[in-house]
């Protein structure tokens, strides 16, 4: 079981990151199901979201890859600035033989790159996958927005029932349901009574 090809070796050594997300996800899921307090449920939801965000970001990782921003020599449009800098360098310093040749070589390279070209497959492996980053960037922001709405609803529930314990809220709703009599839809009398009651309350 713990050998080279064992299941535990495969899970805990090669895919340890997935184990971490599963644990985080389970903590969040358990809190959402088992906790009675609505705020604690929301905390669970946030932990759940975090697990998924981490999972997506880790999918974009590449061994030996850097962040998805072009380094100078891969930036097809970035060579203008570099070119100018090289020239200035060459002009400013008393160009030794060596300097001159390197400047010439780099100039040549720049000319070679002049038409923007797309990166080869080999070069794309040098950058982390940008797509999961983009998806999670928006997911984080939308997560904050939805969490805000959820907190607002919780405050509203507290205002209406005086509690944010799910059991108590449900009990209060059931009691209310039991005490209300469903009005006869054909007669208009109950409505009028309600309207007059409201007027009396306002007055």
């Amino acid at each position: 079981m713990f050998g080279e090809d064992g299941l535990l070796n495969e899970l805990l050594v090669e895919r340890f990151n997935y184990c971490v997300y599963v644990v985080l996800l389970l903590i969040g899921l358990y809190a959402m199901i088992a906790k009675n307090n609505l705020i604690k449920k929301l905390i669970g939801m946030s932990i759940f979201q975090t697990a998924i965000i981490l999972f997506y970001v880790s999918i974009g990782v590449k061994e030996g890859g850097t962040i998805p921003i072009y380094v100078a020599e891969h930036d097809p449009h970035g060579h203008h600035a570099e070119h100018a800098a090289h020239r200035e360098e060459a002009n400013a310093t008393e160009a030794t033989e060596e300097n001159a040749t390197t400047a010439a070589v780099s100039n040549e390279e720049d000319h070679g790159h002049h038409a923007p070209r797309s990166l080869t497959d080999e070069e794309t492996f040098g950058y982390a996958n940008p797509l999961p980053h983009v998806l999670m960037l928006t997911a984080i922001v939308v997560g904050v927005a939805t969490l805000g709405v959820a907190l607002a609803l919780t405050q509203r529930i507290y205002r209406a029932f005086g509690t944010i314990e799910e059991d108590d809220v449900l009990a209060a709703i059931r009691a209310e349901d039991a005490s209300t009599v469903i009005p006869d839809l054909l007669s208009t009398k109950p409505k009028r009574v309600k309207a007059t009651q409201r007027k009396a309350k306002k007055a």
């Binding site: 997935y18 599963v22 358990y30 199901i33 921003i69 072009y70 996958n129 940008p130 927005a145």
Partner: protein, 252 residues
């Protein structure tokens, strides 16, 4: 209930761990996500299609611009929903459920307010930097907007909410959020009027004195500014409403 929850959670956990075995290992170059032609195209051709070196910004604001626009709309709607849910009207406003034990009038602390006074310009400058430099370094409209919103929240924390509302009232914040979306959609519509498709920024090179690639760069900056407006305003509106239970008065 708790035992049932635990059983369900552990069952799902076992399923997920069993599935994790089939996922690619950490940093695998040949994992399906990394080897897909879409991801390869974004990495290989972002520099050819646009002048933006940061691929994340290019994908966010250009290739997936439509998605990001409605993402911004979602934030706007969330802000409005929170205001609508917590709005107090008439008899509601003086109900005892809104009274709080911590409602005591205190002077803002001298040390805190003076530290915040020093910090806020730096935070706001940094927000602008993150926003404007999002094309060549990590950053962009969402991040810059959140930092900007945080600076207003800091004012509300150090003094009280009315002090922050002098600078950005909730009504004005909602308007600002709308303006942000209008900027975004406006740039999209402008490129449509110039003969392209909605959010096809390359068409803007007809009105800007730059190449189509550079036009996409500038349009992305404009779009990010729109996003930053919305995010700043909505972050502050959410805080102002949640921290005072919709009364928009009093301290924290």
């Amino acid at each position: 209930m708790k035992k049932v929850a635990l059983a369900v959670t552990l069952f799902i956990g076992a399923l997920l761990l069993y599935a994790a075995k089939d996922f690619s290992a950490w940093g695998d170059l040949q994992s399906p996500a990394s080897a897909s032609p879409v991801s390869k195209h974004f990495i290989a051709d972002t520099g050819v299609d646009t002048e933006v070196p940061n691929m994340v910004t290019a994908v966010l604001a250009d290739y997936r611009g439509f998605d990001t626009m409605f993402e911004t709309v979602v934030i706007f709607i969330a802000g409005i929903a929170i205001i609508a849910i917590l709005r107090c009207t008439g008899a509601d406003a003086d109900s005892p459920a809104l009274e709080r034990e911590s409602d005591v009038a205190t002077e803002p602390d001298l040390i805190v307010t003076n530290t915040v006074r020093l910090l806020i310009p730096v935070i706001q400058l940094f927000a602008f930097y993150v926003l404007a430099h999002g094309h060549v370094s990590p950053g962009g409209g969402f991040q810059g907007g959140v930092i900007m919103g945080a600076s207003f929240i800091l004012v509300a924390l150090a003094w009280d909410l009315p002090k922050a509302m002098e600078r950005l009232s909730v009504d004005r914040a909602v308007m600002l959020a709308g303006v942000g979306i209008l900027i975004y959609a406006g740039i999209g519509l402008l490129s449509m009027l110039l003969g392209g498709e909605f959010l096809d920024y390359a068409e803007l090179s007809h009105v800007l004195p730059v190449s189509p690639e550079m036009a996409r760069y500038h349009a992305m900056l404009g779009v990010e500014i729109g996003v930053a407006f919305t995010v700043t305003a909505v972050m502050f509106a959410i805080y102002a409403n949640l921290s005072t239970r919709g009364r928009l008065a009093g301290g924290l």
